[in-house]
Structures are given as C-alpha cells and as structure tokens.
Symmetry: C2
DNA sequence: CCAAAAGTGTTTCACTTACACCCATGA
DNA sequence: TCATGGGTGTAAGTGAAACACTTTTGG
C-alpha cells in the first residue's frame, strides 16, 4: 500500500465523444464549459472519475449529468495522458465514444456545463484541451468499426428503412453507395427482420421498415460469420 | 485548479503485454513480483506513471526497468479501472501490448521484479491482479491487428524467409495456411524486398530471405491500399 | 540416395461492382 | 399527372480457396 502512495498522482477524468446522425450529417454532442479553464469554450462532456465507480460508469454518469443524454451505447476509445494537456496540472483522461439515435431530442446542460448542443462533425467550433484530437480519433474509430460491426443500428430508430440505413452508412463513411448492391448485401446477411410495417405520412411510396435482429447477429458471429459492409 | 483537487485520485499505472514468437509458439514476457501484493506471483511488467512522462514513455520505461527489454513496438491496448482490481486501493492501469523479435535474449529482472521470463501464451501461470484478463484482450487484439496491419514483421528478425513469415501467421492466428496461396498473397502485396541472400547452414535447400519494405508500405497505405492476410 | 523443406500454376467458386428502369403513393 | 423515392436483376470482373509435384541441398 505504502508503495502506491509514494508518488504524486495524476488526476483522472473521462470524456465522451457522442455521435448522432441527423439529416444526413454526422453530429457530435458538445457542452459549453461553465468553469475555468476554458470557460465559455466548447468541449466534450466529461469529468472526474470517482473512487468507487468503474470507468464505464463514470463516462455514462458524466454524460448524463452534463447533457441529460442517457441510454447511450458507450465504448472505451483511448487514454490520453500528455503531461501538459490540461493547464491545471497533470490530468489523464480516458476517452469514450458513444452512439445515440435520438438527435432530435435537445440535450439539456447541467452541472459545470452552461450549454449542451449537437454540432456537425464537419464544422466543429474550437474545442478545449486536446479534445479536437480526441474527436479525430473517435471519428476514425467509428469509420473503421461501422464496417465490420453492426454498430450503425445504434444510430437509427429501432424501425428503419433500408434507405435510412444506407444514408447512415454514406454519412459515416462519407461516400456514396450503390442502392441495389447495398440492399443485396444487407438483406443477404439475414440480420434484419421485416416488421411488415411501412413508413407513414410520406408523400411517395412508403418504404418497408426493418428491425435489427440482435439475437440472430450474436448467433451468427459465434459461428464465425463476418459482418462487413 | 481547485476543482481538480477536490476529489481523491486513483493511482495510475501502466502494464505491458509483450509478445514474442519462438519455435512456433506465442510467448509472453512476465515478471515475478518481488513485492507485495502478490509477492512471488507472476505478473505483467508495469508500474506507476510519473507526473512528467507520457503514458507511452511510462510503459517503455517500466518494461525496460523490470525486464531490460527495450526497443519494443508498443501500442496502447485498453485502460482497466475496476474499483477492486488492486487490493491496495483504487489503481487504474493503462495496458499496452508490444512485439519483440528477440525471444532468444534472456530478459533480466530488475527493480521490483525478482525474475523475468518468457511464458508460452497457451500455458501461462496464475497471474496477479486482473492480468489474465489483460492478456486475453491483448491476444484478441493481436489476432485482429495482424490481419490488417503488417505488425507481424515486428516479431521476426529483419531478414526472414517466407516460410518463417507463414509460421508466424499460423502461430498468431492459430490455424494452418496454404503455402502457395500465402506466398502468392504476400508477394503480390509488393511490400517485401528480396535481399538476394539465402539461409545459411541448413540441411536442405536454403530459402530466399526477404526484408519488409516500410517505406513502400507507408506509401501504399497513403494511396488507400489495404493490407490483409 | 535420402530426408526435409523450397518453390511453383491452374481451376473453381463466391463475392463485388457496375448499371437502368418500372412502380406506388400523395399532392 | 407529376414528382419523389421504393424496389428490383444480370453480367463481368476480381480475389479466395483448393490442390500435388519437382527441385535443391546437406548429411
């Protein structure tokens, strides 16, 4: 025990890069800092890890506290520990990235955030600390992961059309996909369930709605199947 | 500033899962702990992060200090922060994984390690803390990464035969590969340079030796080429 | 001359890509 | 009836997988 207390300790925080997709644009949830350092500057939601909680729990808690956004798919991204990344002294941060499907719900600022809002990933404001670097890594990871894991479904409502799904992939990967090939591919994976329902109140032919079949997906991956788009 | 000091801080350590390949077996570098807790138990090399060094530097330093193994390709793996993972109190550890090509060199124990040795990944001894879990994740990551990034070359001497390279992949992926297809594939990538040299003192036809062409590889990846085996 | 590994091509099959038109619906 | 997106099939090309024998060398 003594040994571990011989050294001064860095402070430990968590930060969250939360993605949403809205009208074909990739969005990121930011807060406006209400406290120094970087008071008034936009930043990732996050804060100090408590002594009795896991890192995952700290990330979810801080996100909820500062933005009132909960029920998020969160996954650890990377730990940033450059000695001068925080002007207050040594602060190491464990970064998370998350996916939400309800961009339409306005986030609510709280605790040490004076505002919370969705920003388009393509034109972010200047960010506090090294948060720009964290966001870059998160986008890179999202792009890589969306191709071999079905995390895209976390960004959509539970029932969605194939066109919505395709738009999502186009948004995240930032390139156009062929409609017929895309449909052939995803339907061929057999991880979508046709709900039998169609879109409502659209001024055109209504699209078929599907749900993601989590159970089937898990079963297939166990048998060594390989999701890829 | 005050804010960051209101909270008690977890201690912060780094731990390294260092891989080597020897005679067709995947090996991991372990130390025997010379201090409590878990004195006499095998564990991953690692230790406390200093206030003025990056996390990467801390990992390399601890590895060198405890095992005298240096010049290692090290990459951050994951951060483990379960509240009870260390009996001394809250200790969060940033885990790294590394690759070495000189398994034949005996590691040398030092500082708080009473011994250092290579263990076969297939039959590790009981490990201290949650190090078993860390090793599992590292193996999973190594398997995934070796397929789409040329990190395998870090595990071989600078000049190697195609058979050595194939054995390496077979070891890491734990399955057999077809000789002709393997050679066609890797030579087709055009990232190997034929050194013109052959094996020496082998009681059979001597194999051609190759080097990995780092420059060519970087150039190709910039142009959007995709390494995959 | 024997043992041991080096080296070498072809065929088959699956998957990816490119590509254009008719259909259903609400306004 | 028109505008809008929904929905559909085929052919060509590319890459992966399966598969066996000859060559070289040292002992």
């Amino acid at each position: 025990m003594a040994y571990s207390y011989e050294y001064p300790r860095p402070a430990l925080t968590v930060d969250c890069v939360v993605f949403g997709v809205d009208e074909g644009a990739l969005k990121i949830l930011l807060i406006e800092r209400g406290e120094d350092p970087f008071k008034g500057c936009w930043a990732l939601p996050g804060g100090f890890v408590r002594m009795d909680e896991t890192l995952d729990a700290a990330a979810a808690r801080e996100l909820k506290e500062e933005t009132n956004v909960g029920k998020v798919y969160l996954e650890q991204l990377y730990t940033f520990g450059a000695p001068k990344r925080d002007p207050r002294g040594r602060v190491v941060t464990v970064a998370y990235y998350g996916l939400v499907n309800r961009v339409e719900h306005q986030p609510q600022a709280a605790t040490d955030a004076s505002a919370a809002a969705w920003y388009s990933a393509a034109k972010l404001p200047k960010l506090a600390f090294d948060h720009k670097e964290i966001v870059s890594l998160a986008i890179e990871r999202l792009r890589a992961k969306v191709r071999y894991a079905p995390i895209g479904f976390e960004l959509l409502p539970s029932k969605f059309s194939l066109t919505q799904l395709q738009r999502l992939y186009e948004t995240v990967l930032d390139r156009e996909l062929d409609k017929r090939n895309f449909r052939k591919k995803v339907l061929g994976l057999e991880i979508l369930i046709d709900t039998g329902e169609t879109e409502k109140n659209v001024p055109r032919r209504a699209a078929q709605l599907y749900r993601f079949d989590r159970k089937k997906y898990r079963q297939l991956t166990r048998d060594g199947f390989n999701f890829e788009i």
